[in-house]
């Protein structure tokens, strides 16, 4: 078959995976290296797109490639029954109605709340086979990095760039630097993809990846399922990186094959031939390399208000004086906000809310992991716990597998799909002082509701905390 388009300035010699995908998508390059990068898939949701569509209308522009544009409402949809008939919050309703209208007016692919395929945009894309290896994928959402698990170059963009992609199917970009994050060896029992990705951020900091595209590799990454790989890439953004990538392999191809928008027949064979060339060449240059031993990674939680505030569950709350530079004040502020005392054991921190879901951990494997801990158990008295599946199809599968019943029997609320309490734009929010064990991706001040306190962790760890009422080492319940 013919090779993909190559940039005239594509570098010769060994290439990284990022180099290869980049080179295959340069539609135009200026002398200073500013490129027009062609975008294969543009995912759209209701919060960051209305101003972009309005911009198109005002300028009399069309969507350049409606067939490559996929829209789904997820951020502020309620996760309770009846939402397809009526959304109480007026502003939320207006945003969802605006997306309905924009999808119709501009002829783009659309999954409304009434469609069982609706869900979080980063779960729907892979599930429907829109996300394929070697693609460029963008969305007006920072967690677009998720799609990098397929070996596609995927990153978040702002609303002006959403409008730019709608109008031109390209982005004005300069190439980032290459960073390799290698996780060697094997994970120990009770340690998951979430613990990998949080541990990497704990090691590099939230600005450690700024200016880079990360390629995750190593045996522990290879061993992960596609769901786990999506969890790892999802939080590349919390590490500051533009995108996270994992080279596609047989697991990737098996996941993609047969999905509604995956290629079929001869096109599948042609695609596979190219996809199998998507790996980093021996000797390719990385500008930065970080290596962690899989065996050294423990189940972790965050204690503070930045995703870099990561500690093994066996640890204790740090003191501000343990840090240096600007982090001293930030750590003190975090301790005050979180209501924690230095030296306190992490496992002594009591929680009152558990949230299982989000684009980080709202897939079927995540629900299986949580249900495995919860089977035959009850959540702590007074605990508010909810499961928000990442899509209607994940929800249906979990019901079919009997997972939903395990959650319900344990005392969890079993919700409809959406972003929900990850960012609390819908009615699912924390009240001031409430403390949540969350499988989502951000523990910022106010993220889950003003004054709410968030501890990030894996689904199994969140399930364990729901049972005991405090942060818990899941290994003691396995």
């Amino acid at each position: 078959m013919t090779g993909p388009n190559e940039s005239c300035a594509a570098k010769s010699g060994p290439k990284t995976l990022y180099d290869k995908i980049w080179d295959a998508h340069v539609a135009h390059e200026d002398a200073d290296g500013t490129c027009l990068l062609y975008i294969d898939r543009h995912l759209v949701h209701e919060v960051t797109s209305p101003q972009a569509f309005e911009g198109l209308r005002l300028a009399g522009r069309k969507v350049h490639a409606p067939g490559k544009t996929i829209a789904v409402p997820d951020h502020n949809v309620p996760t309770t029954e009846g939402r397809d008939k009526h959304i109480d919050n007026e502003e939320s309703r207006i945003q969802v109605e605006a997306l309905d209208k924009n999808a119709r007016d501009f002829g783009i692919n659309y999954y409304p709340v009434s469609d069982i395929r609706q869900g979080i945009v980063h779960i729907v894309g892979p599930e429907q086979g829109w996300t394929l290896p070697g693609m460029t994928v963008v969305c007006g959402d920072s967690h677009t990095a998720t799609h990098g698990a397929f070996g596609s170059l995927a990153h978040g963009i702002g609303t002006s760039e959403v409008e730019h992609v709608l109008a031109t199917q390209t982005l004005i970009q300069k190439k980032s630097k290459n960073m390799k994050v290698e996780i060697t060896g094997h994970l120990r029992p009770g340690v998951t993809a979430k613990d990998i990705t949080l541990s990497v951020i704990g090691a590099t900091g939230t600005a450690g990846g700024t200016g880079y595209v990360i390629e995750y590799c190593g045996q522990a990454i290879r061993d992960l399922s596609m769901e786990g790989r999506m969890t790892v890439c999802n939080m590349a953004i919390e590490g500051g990186a533009r995108a996270g990538l994992i080279a596609p392999d047989e697991k990737t191809f098996a996941y993609v094959m047969g999905r509604p928008h995956a290629p079929k027949g001869a096109q599948w064979e042609a695609a596979l031939t190219w996809w199998k060339t998507l790996y980093t060449d021996e000797g390719a240059h990385f500008d930065k390399v970080v290596t962690l031993k899989g065996e050294d990674i423990a189940p972790v939680v965050t204690w503070g208000t930045s995703p870099e505030d990561v500690l093994p569950i066996t640890g204790t709350v740090p003191a501000a004086a343990d840090f240096t530079g600007g982090k001293v004040d930030a750590a003190q502020r975090a301790l005050d906000y979180m209501g924690l005392t230095p030296g306190q054991k992490l496992t002594d921190i009591k929680i009152d809310t558990v949230f299982i879901g989000s684009c980080t951990n709202g897939r079927i494997e995540d629900l299986r992991a949580a249900a495995a801990i919860l089977k035959g158990k009850k959540i702590k008295d007074g605990m508010r716990a909810m499961v928000v599946p990442g899509s209607g199809l994940v929800r249906a599968q979990a019901e079919e597998e009997g997972l939903a019943q395990i959650f319900i029997d344990a005392g969890f609320e079993w919700r409809l799909a959406g972003c929900s309490m990850c960012l609390a734009m819908n009615p699912d929010q924390l009240s001031p002082g409430e403390r949540c064990a969350a499988t989502s991706n951000r523990n910022f001040e106010g993220r889950q509701g003003r004054g709410g306190r968030t501890h990030l962790m894996s689904p199994a760890m969140a399930a364990a905390a729901a049972v005991t009422g405090h942060l818990t080492d899941v290994r003691e319940m396995m």
């Binding site: 062609y38 963009i157 031109t168 910022f444």
Partner: protein
Amino acid sequence: MDKFTTLTGIAAPMPLVNIDTDMIIPKQFLKTIKRSGLGKNLFDEMRFTQDGKEIPEFVLNQPAYRKAEILVAGDNFGCGSSREHAPWALLDFGIRCVISTSFADIFFSNCFKNGILPVVLPQAAVDHLMDDARKGANARISVDLENQTVTAVDGTSYGFEVDAFKKHCLLNGLDDIGLTLEKAASIDTFEKTAAQSRPWV
């Protein structure tokens, strides 16, 4: 978008590291379908109590900084979500320039689309400008995009790097969709070739 050429103005000190986009504009204000009017909710949860009263200690509530046009901020400003509501809120409040040692990638890019100049300077320079900012309204900082300099109160001038294309767009207030559409032929050619080489896309 408005041009950015030179600016001499009040700079507000925000030394906290990792100021995220949820702090800059909390999620409840993302439900708008407009770009305007977000300035009143800039830094909402740091600036106002739950019942809407000003928190006097917050820098932008202090008399000296109510008309700030520049922020001098701690490391990794703008981390978190891709919400362009963050620069929209800053701009609507009147902030045209943010100075820090580092910015999160998407926020950095979003600023340039809205006439805001994010300036990256080394720690020592940011520390100097932070000291100036702490002096209040009489200590004005000057920013010159054409010459790529930031000048402190004592006249010390710090050069900064800026991408040539982004600088050009900001100096001239250019809409980059229009610029890209001038290259429509390249996009068309790319699509024709890609239709052959990657027909499954």
